[in-house]
Each structure stands twice: as structure tokens, then as C-alpha cells.
């Protein structure tokens, strides 16, 4: 309150009409921050026009992307801003009840939002007669049970209603028929948190930030192989280079930048040649990836792109709800083919089949998860095809990641026979006497890499393909 909290809500309740608020949000050009980028104002307008009562609003805090924590940061750090945004939204569309759907894996976020709701209620900012006006609105915090797909809005509603978390075909959109069949507005945590700023500073201010078609600022969670990891907030349209090098401080240990994955597990990987790409909805889509909710994973030269594709495909296979045959079976088959390539059973026709299958999955599936299930695969084939070919033709994993394609070797001139590696080897695959050269038995070796970590002389090396 003291630093201007709930100022926007007060000004809305005292001086503005609901139409005004919707218009302001529409003019600001705010687009949903959860991933799809749907214009928020248009969504609100649609819900406002619905004659059905009551209306509901929902805050989507089911942030499931590995390595992304924008929503968590906001809910833990400034839950009142989210509540204020939701109050304004409720006033704009005429809702009396709201929900915050937060995943239970965020115990601190749950605690803070519960505390904030309680505080707001006792301060007269939630409940009957908010700020002395006739406006009534209350919030309920609901915890998700940990399904990735419940971040999809129709699956989230199903979960809120107590049904199986499974998306359904839109239309009808939740703005027309959502929770219990009533008009429901679902926005991401970050979207709600943007609303008070827009009201306070005006639509023109927000419109002046960012790039054409993507307005305002966006929080990204910068993780992976960069010096400074964490949350960064930049205007839309900032280049990848400025985020990775100026803010992130570049790649540690003098390694080379190899790829950056945008948009979480269902996003694509971009190569170094696209470092100057501006991050906004349009540019990313053109490059074959997605904005998603704002996860950025930086990878260095020690990363194998085939392995990356396999990892994310496996994640999506497990998190698919299983309703669409294309998504459930398609991701399983995609992972099998990638397993083949990673384990040295691949053929060149694997790549063509993967591309064919990938496009089919993205075309046939219904929700955002399935429609992007093949994006990690397709983008890595698009930008790193030679790496796939190398795995198949030369049985070579240059990054030294795919365990079936690599072997460990002790270099004769560096080994001083300290026996440290022999002691730690879990399968006793290293033979040799003290002060004499040690030799790794390739057949017995399980490629755990422990010997590499303990060798003080750096005599253990990873070899792949035909190279000695």
C-alpha cells in the first residue's frame, strides 16, 4: 500500500467503468504471457459480452516447464500485484469469484499467495464491498497435482472441476464456456501482474515498450551454461545475444555457445547463427520455435543435440495426457527412433521418418502440448542435421554424451599410475599396477565417467567414432 500497491485497483473502482478498463488493456497490446500469446483485451471483451452469470477468473500458476520459474518468482516475491491484477480483471468482466491454480511443487509460492489473499481480505481488498464500493470479489487458492498438461487452459478447468486433467477441443473457448460451463478468463501469473502497471501508466506507455506485435516487457528465466543464471526482465524484441552475453555474461569456462532452447520442453533450439534474432512472438515462430512461457536454456559445445531432442521427447511422452493417439503414440515412436540413433542403430531413413512423423504429430494433435511435441526434434534436425548424420554414419557423438557411441581411454604419456581411477571404478574395469600404466577394459566399462572426474593428470579422455 505504502509504495503504491492497489493504487490501480482504487483508481479503477472509483473513476473508471468496466468498458474503460477492457479498452485500456486492449489498446496496450498486452498478449498472454503463458505461451500462446493471445491478446488479453480481446479475451476479456469476449467474456464481458457473455450474458451468462456468474463469471469466473483464474490465474494459471501451473508452471511446469523444467528450468522455468518466472511465475514462481512473482508469486513468491509479489503476490499482491497478481491479486490486484485479478481484482481489476474481475471488475472488468463482472466476475465475483476467482481461483489461483498453483502447482503444489511450489510450497513457498503456495504459502505466500495464501498469506497474501488472507492479508488482502482483512484489509478489505477482497470480499464484499472492496475499498468501500459495491464491488465484491473473492479468491480461492487451488493446488494442482503436478500434471504438466494441466497448464493448458481447458485441462486446467477440468482439473478445477475435479475431473481428469485432459484438454478438450475449443471452441467453445473458456471465455464463453469455462468453469462449470460459465464464462471464465484464464490468464498467466505474469499477465495478471502486468495489468496494474498498464492501468497506472496508461496503455500508451505499455504500447511504447517492446516490438511490433509484441508489446511490453517479458520475464525470462535464463538457465543452463551461462555465467549469470536467473530471472531477467527485458523489453520484447531484445536480441538473444544481448540476453546471453550482456545480461547472462556469456558461457563459462571459455566454452563455445552451441544452442539456446526457447519456450520450455516443447520449444525449439536455435543455433549460433540466429543469436541476433529478436525475441518476440512473430520472430520466434518464423525460426521454428515458440515463445512459450519464457524459459531460455543455454547449451555449450559439450551438449549433444540428438540427446537434447531425445530428452525433451521423453519428457513430453511422459507428460502427454494420452488422449490424442498422435501425441501419445507419436511421442513414443519418436523417442524410440531417437534411441536408435543415440545407441548406434540409426539409419539415414530414420531422419526422414522422424521429420514425417514430427510434422504429423504437430498437425494432428489437439492441444498446445501435442502441437509442439515435435518442435524440439524438428528444430534440432533443421539446424543441427549434420550432428544426426554423424551419429548415424560415423557412429560418432562429438560432444561425448551418447554413452553407446563413446569409449574411455587412458593416455599413455599422461598416466602416472596413481591408481585413483582403479579405486573408484564401480565395475573394476581398470587394470594395472601401481606406478604403471592403467588400461580400461572397454567391454566391462559402463561409461559412468567417474575415472575422468578423479584423474588428477587429465589422462582419461573420451573418444567417439573411429578417432583415436
Amino acid at each position: 500500500m505504502a509504495i503504491g500497491g492497489y493504487k490501480a485497483l482504487a483508481s479503477v473502482l472509483q473513476n473508471q467503468s468496466a468498458e474503460n478498463v477492457v479498452d485500456t488493456v486492449k489498446q496496450s497490446g498486452l498478449r498472454g504471457r503463458g505461451g500462446a500469446g493471445f491478446p488479453t483485451g480481446i479475451k476479456w471483451e469476449r467474456a464481458r459480452e457473455q450474458p451468462a452469470e456468474p463469471k469466473y477468473i483464474v490465474c494459471n500458476a501451473d508452471e511446469g516447464d523444467p528450468g522455468a520459474f518466472m511465475d514462481r518468482g512473482l508469486l513468491e516475491g509479489n503476490p499482491h500485484r497478481v491479486i490486484e491484477g485479478m481484482c481489476i480483471g474481475a471488475f472488468a468482466i463482472g466476475a465475483r469469484q476467482g481461483f489461483v491454480y498453483v502447482r503444489h511443487e511450489y510450497p513457498i509460492a503456495v504459502k505466500h499467495i495464501l498469506m497474501a489473499v488472507e492479508d488482502a481480505r482483512s484489509a478489505g481488498l477482497l470480499g464484499e464491498g472492496i475499498l468501500g464500493t459495491g464491488f465484491a470479489f473473492d479468491l480461492k487458492v487451488v493446488q494442482g497435482a503436478g500434471a504438466f498438461v494441466c497448464g493448458e487452459e481447458t485441462a486446467l478447468i477440468a482439473s478445477l472441476e475435479g475431473r481428469k486433467g485432459e484438454p478438450r477441443q475449443r471452441p467453445p473457448f473458456p471465455a464463453e464456456s469455462g468453469f462449470k460451463g460459465k464464462p471464465t478468463i484464464i490468464n498467466n501469473v505474469e499477465t495478471w501482474a502486468n495489468v496494474p502497471h498498464i492501468i497506472n501508466n496508461g496503455a500508451e506507455w505499455f504500447d511504447s515498450l517492446g516490438s511490433e506485435g509484441s508489446k511490453g516487457t517479458k520475464i525470462f528465466s535464463l538457465v543452463g551454461k551461462v555465467r549469470n543464471t536467473g530471472l531477467v526482465e527485458v523489453p520484447m524484441g531484445a536480441s538473444i545475444r544481448s540476453i546471453v552475453y550482456d545480461i547472462g555474461g556469456g558461457i563459462p569456462d571459455g566454452k563455445a555457445f552451441k544452442a539456446i532452447q526457447t519456450g520450455g520442453p516443447a520449444g525449439g533450439c536455435l543455433p549460433p547463427s540466429l543469436l541476433d534474432l529478436p525475441i518476440d512472438f512473430g520472430a520466434l515462430q518464423e525460426a521454428g520455435t515458440i515463445m512459450g512461457s519464457g524459459g531460455l536454456i543455454v547449451m555449450d559445445e559439450d551438449t549433444c543435440m540428438v540427446d537434447v531432442a531425445r530428452y525433451f521427447t521423453k519428457f513430453l511422452e511422459e507428460e502427454s495426457c494420452g488422449k490424442c493417439y498422435s501425441c501419445r503414440k507419436g511421442t513414443q515412436r519418436m523417442r524410440e527412433l531417437l534411441d536408435d540413433i543415440c545407441e548406434g542403430r540409426g539409419t539415414i531413413s530414420h531422419i526422414d521418418l522422424l521429420i514425417e512423423l514430427g510434422h504429423a504429430i504437430n498437425t494432428a494433435s489437439m492441444c498446445g502440448l501435442g502441437q509442439n511435441a515435435a518442435t524440439p526434434l524438428l528444430s534440432t534436425i533443421r539446424y543441427f542435421r549434420e550432428e544426426y548424420v554423424e551419429h548415424i554414419k560415423d557412429r560418432n557423438c562429438t560432444a561425448g554424451v551418447c554413452s553407446a557411441l563413446i569409449r574411455y581411454k587412458i593416455l599413455e604419456d599422461l598416466c602416472d599410475g596413481c591408481a585413483a581411477c582403479m579405486k573408484v571404478c564401480p565395475v573394476e574395469a581398470i587394470a594395472g599396477e601401481k606406478d604403471q600404466l592403467h588400461v580400461i577394459d572397454v567391454e566391462a566399462c559402463v561409461k559412468c565417467g567417474t575415472c575422468l572426474d578423479v584423474c588428477a593428470k587429465n589422462a582419461v579422455v573420451v573418444l567417439s567414432g573411429g578417432g583415436e
Binding site: 477441443q169 502427454s320 494420452g322 490424442c324 498422435s326 498437425t363 494432428a364
Partner: protein, 245 residues
């Protein structure tokens, strides 16, 4: 009795259907064949098999939806057999044949769509999780004894807590509607004979038309196909006969 209708185009053919009709129903009414495994008249639409996908919206900005769950809208443009849609259906059928090879329904559908190879590792599953049995049980038999459980690879159809349900009356309705376990493909009867059952099917024309669909039977042979593409089964037999004459 009067009811509201909506006008739309399906493959550039102007059609008019009662409000609330799904694209699939509208297409079937007008004789346009869209394959489906998880839709049955009398049961609600679910959209699990993804075979009935169609393109809607302007041709330069198409959107793909499952036609069984999407209702016709005024002025809508629908394309049921574009290259992208037909290719996707073929991959879906190839996935199904690879995983559920003993279903005659799926074998026949795949054959009718020109899927003559299965490039994925063979599996032997009995269920494609289309959910027909779940809806049959709940909506027609009013029992609700079975439902989906689990997520992703663990998804399966079962009774509550995997125990025999008191609600089940052993009516067999679930098995009656099942596209995977009802009719089994037994393959050739003896090693020396060819059953040829699949070849005697009359396949639907699966040629690609970006805007319209050919109304001729597939045997008409007037289609000019690119070299090397498979002919429908019947066409192939006719050619072979010609060769022997």
C-alpha cells in the same frame, strides 16, 4: 418444426446443415468420406483417434481440427483431403497398424488409405484408447463401469481400483463397439494360399485435392498419378489382369 441452419463450404461445395452439426456429420450427410475410429452415432464426440482431422479457415492460414468435435459455423471453409491432411492420416494409420496389427478394422482402413508399409517397430497391443467403450458404457448402457486411468504411456481403460465393478452388467456393449478387439485379422489361412481379403476391399479414393474432392469411383482410372505412387488395390488387380491377357 423449424430449426436454424448454417451455410458453409466443404471442399468448395456449398452445404447447409442444422445448427450444432459437427463437420464430420455434415460431410457424411453430403457423401464425403472422412475416416474415423473413435466416433459412433449415438455417442458423444471425443476426438482421440485424430483420423477425422480437416483443415478449416482460409487456405493461406489453415487450422487443423478434428471434425467430430468441431461444430459447423456460418461461412466456414472446410477442406477434407488436402495433401497435409491425407499425409497426416497416413502416418496416424501407420502408427496404428504398427501397434495394433491384429485389428481387422484398422488393417482395412490402412489398406484403403494406401498405407502398405509399417516402418515402426512392431508391437502387439489390443487397444488404441479411442474411448468408445467408455462412452458406450456411460451413455448408452447407463452403467459407467469403466473409465480412463493413468496419463501418457500409463493411460489405460479400467474399472475403479482395477477391481470387478458392481456397476458392470456384463452386457458386452464395450466389446461390441471396439474397433481393435472385435474383428481380428487372421492373416493367410494356410502357407500355400493367399487370403487376399484386403485386396477385395473397395478402397475410398485417397487422392489429394486441395479444394475439392473427386466424385468418381476410384476404379475410373482417369486420375493421372505421379510415377511410382501406389495404385489403390483394385486398380492394381485390374492392371495385373490386363498384363496377363
Amino acid at each position: 418444426m423449424s430449426y436454424k441452419t448454417v451455410s458453409l463450404t466443404i471442399n468448395q461445395l456449398p452445404v447447409e446443415v442444422p445448427e450444432g452439426t459437427s463437420i464430420l456429420e455434415a460431410s457424411q450427410t453430403y457423401g464425403i468420406n472422412i475416416p474415423t475410429l473413435c466416433h459412433l452415432d449415438g455417442l458423444s464426440s471425443y476426438g482421440a483417434c485424430r483420423l477425422c482431422i480437416v483443415e478449416i479457415g482460409p487456405a493461406d492460414k489453415p487450422k487443423v481440427v478434428s471434425s467430430c468435435t468441431y461444430r459447423c459455423e456460418e461461412g466456414m471453409e472446410v477442406r477434407t483431403h488436402t495433401r497435409r491432411i491425407v499425409d497426416t492420416r497416413k502416418i496416424m494409420l501407420e502408427l496404428m497398424v504398427s501397434s495394433t496389427p491384429r485389428s481387422k478394422t484398422i488393417q482395412d482402413l490402412a489398406s484403403a488409405h494406401g498405407v502398405y508399409r509399417a516402418r515402426f517397430r512392431p508391437e502387439d497391443e489390443d487397444c488404441i484408447l479411442c474411448g468408445l467403450c467408455v462412452r458406450m458404457c456411460a451413455e448408452q448402457m447407463m452403467a459407467g463401469a469403466i473409465a480412463f486411468a493413468g496419463r501418457g504411456p500409463d493411460r489405460h481403460i479400467t474399472t475403479p481400483f482395477d477391481e470387478l465393478s458392481e456397476l458392470c452388467r456384463h452386457c458386452g456393449g464395450c466389446m461390441y463397439v471396439c474397433p481393435a478387439c472385435m474383428y481380428r485379422c487372421m492373416g493367410p489361412k494356410a502357407d500355400t494360399t493367399l487370403c487376399s481379403a484386403c485386396l477385395n476391399l473397395s478402397p475410398s479414393c485417397v487422392e489429394v485435392y486441395d479444394n475439392q474432392q473427386c466424385w468418381m469411383p476410384p476404379e475410373c482410372g482417369t486420375c493421372v498419378r505421379p510415377e511410382g505412387e501406389y495404385l489403390p488395390a483394385t486398380g492394381r488387380i485390374m492392371q495385373e489382369e490386363k498384363a496377363t491377357e
